[in-house]
Subunit: 409 residues, 2 copies
């Protein structure tokens, strides 16, 4: 009988969202007629922009036509898409080569897959609370011990971000090899200043650490002084890999396209201190364990960079940010302290009356028929906090605010 | 500086197809006007069937419509597709639950990803020659030592399939934990009889081994007595995982969709001999490291099971098999010994005059401007053999046969 990867057995029961689904289903059994509003999972609700729909129709027609049919594409993505992505960086004054862009089917996949090219003995730092996939994929790869009573795994360095430190991630007080940063932040909806991000890049350069920078929510930045890419920081190209996605701005959560930037100058090392270009390893992984993104999807993604596509995406982002404003204002009127939601589609709130995150989840579900995400599900330091997603139709957001005003105020 | 996964450094230079591309590009420099016929990589040339094109157009329209838009789908695939897949198995008298079907973006990905849930100390057996991804992904995972002069990695058990044993894979003469079988076979185009596959299942049951059965070319079987699925063999459900793909029959090499069957009864074990359902581990991997296949692509894949879709796919398969017949006959007329290509889209030939595989590659490229795949690229036991793919337009196949008749006869 084949031996299994036993590290999987260290994973704690259920990924966060299945547990939420379970509680909602249970509630539904007791109140089958309840009109539940879902602000839990960060899933977009606006349809694909017309420019993207049109591009996908054209691509489907090409695939049905003998002369224009496409079989295997380049594993790293078609040049037309990689060039469009480079163009978008160039618009911000950032130069990169097309072969530093790796197109994939999602940032969730990329942030997990990147671990394959790193050895198991790296010391990994994450923010707390954090996107659970960063943690779980490290557990699965065997880079941690078991979890303690708070759900924290031995071997990971947790860097708390809470109201006490203004959600500013403290630099590690020791040496780490790999650091995950996600800004605009999931789950707290907070951002990182240029100065603070520069301090992180300095830390990484000093410690020869690798920063895995997840910028999936970049499009939601509205304050001019917030960096959109880690490469806006001097020296970041040597120490940072950046993950970007079409999911949250172009509405690709169900269409699946993302990209990862691996600058050629990022290096890793072997046990005997030889230096190896991380780019070469990632290119090899991409070619051997992946077969490229669907041509039709890549054509749709490329249309996100057309003038019409950009405009239609900007309208969606504005719309969701308007939702976030409504949620923030509504919660504040109900006397609840809120964070985030200014440059991000997530509002992070302090639970009232010192309720635990799951107690507030149940309370909100029972009294408002409203589903959010318990902060503790994102890590021990998320306890006492709660996330509401601004991704929904406007009438649902308005109704959510009304219900909260009635039940919580 | 982050430590890298040094197992990657054991990989031998270049994946097979990049090396072919390099030689073809070099040839192109000396003869820029040569009309090169490519029968190397197994990539389809027929456009997507009309039923699939239509389904994808409908799905794109849904995604552009507020009321029908879909965000995140189930990571394991939409029920409509998993049910259609179960229906196709049921048509062959094979019963499985929809939750035993995991939809993915490709069998290449799946056959590599499955290793993530297995520990590194399993003894792995592969056929030789073999699809290089099976080998390379085990190397990357650290399940092998270094390669020897023949390109064989220490720690893997190679089971030669050659003309001497009629391309019938011998059972291992020792205990192994994991076995890759691919039938109809890539690269040799040969098949496995029901009796022989039953012997493999018996071996796996006796040794509590896990069979990874790659049936990507199942649609090409035309002999009635050849099994289409390993689950046609009594007892296989307890020991086998089956990989299937839309790539080679429905023409999805550039559209990307596949599935893996993991029966609930397949078990693995921990070091202390506890038993664990492999299904649970794979479900967890799917949910944590993957985010589902594009909705539009899944709708296209589901149309492969409609009456029109089935008919249009059958026509394509017949067409490619006709190509294979032409290649076989042409090679035989040129005095070359051929194998495979009866129930598979690959013709496997013995190189004339005991040429090495790469020498024949260069010879064919120089004299016929024809690109195939050197057998030795698939493993040491492939030396002296050569693969021609039947995936191409008819006029190109005819022209290839004409050139070979002139140059090789």
């Amino acid at each position: 009988m084949a031996h299994i990867n036993e590290h999987y057995l260290k994973l704690q029961a259920g990924y966060l969202f299945p547990e939420i689904a379970r509680r909602v289903a249970e509630f539904g059994k007791t109140q089958p007629d309840a009109d539940i509003i879902r602000l839990g999972i960060g899933d977009v609700t606006c349809p694909l922009p017309a420019a993207i729909v049109q591009a996908m129709h054209c691509a489907v027609d090409e695939m049905g036509d003998e002369d224009n049919f496409r079989g295997y594409g380049p594993e790293q993505g078609y040049p037309f898409l990689r060039q469009a992505i480079c163009g978008a960086y160039a618009d911000r004054g950032l130069e990169m080569d097309t072969d530093e862009i790796f197109v994939s089917d999602g940032s969730k996949c990329d942030t997990g897959n990147i671990l394959d090219i790193l050895s198991d003995d790296n010391v990994v730092a994450i923010l707390d609370p954090v996107y659970p996939v960063y943690v779980d994929t490290n557990v699965m790869a065997g880079r941690t011990g078991s979890a303690d009573a708070n759900g924290r795994y031995a071997g990971l360095l947790y860097l708390p971000i809470t109201a006490e430190n203004g959600f500013v991630a403290p630099l590690p007080d020791r040496h780490v090899d790999v650091i995950y940063l996600c800004y605009p932040n999931n789950p707290t909806g907070t951002v990182v200043s240029r100065e603070r991000l520069a301090a992180w890049v300095d830390y990484a350069r000093e410690h020869q650490a690798l920063i895995l920078f997840d910028a999936a929510y970049e499009a939601y930045i509205r304050d001019d002084d917030i960096p959109h890419s880690i490469y806006e920081i001097e020296g970041a190209r040597e120490v940072a890999i950046e993950f970007r996605s079409f999911s949250k701005d172009a509405g690709f959560t169900g269409t699946r396209c993302a990209w990862t930037v691996v600058p050629r100058v990022v290096q890793g090392r072997t046990a005997d201190e030889r230096r190896v270009a991380v780019h070469d390893l990632w290119a090899r992984r991409h070619a051997t364990r992946f077969n490229g993104v669907s041509y039709v999807v890549q054509r749709g993604a490329a249309a996100a960079f057309s003038p019409e596509g950009k405009q239609q995406i900007a309208e969606r982002v504005q719309f969701y940010l308007g939702n976030a404003d409504l949620l923030r204002a509504g919660l504040q009127r109900a006397g609840i302290t809120v964070y985030g939601g200014r440059n991000a589609p997530y509002v992070w709130l302090k639970t009232p009356r010192s309720l635990s995150s799951w107690a507030f989840f149940d309370h909100l579900l029972q009294t408002c028929h409203l589903v959010g995400t318990p902060g503790s599900g994102f890590g021990a330091s998320g306890e006492g906090y709660f996330r509401l997603s601004a991704f929904n139709h406007r009438d649902r957001i308005d109704e959510a605010v009304r219900r909260m005003a009635a039940a919580l105020a």
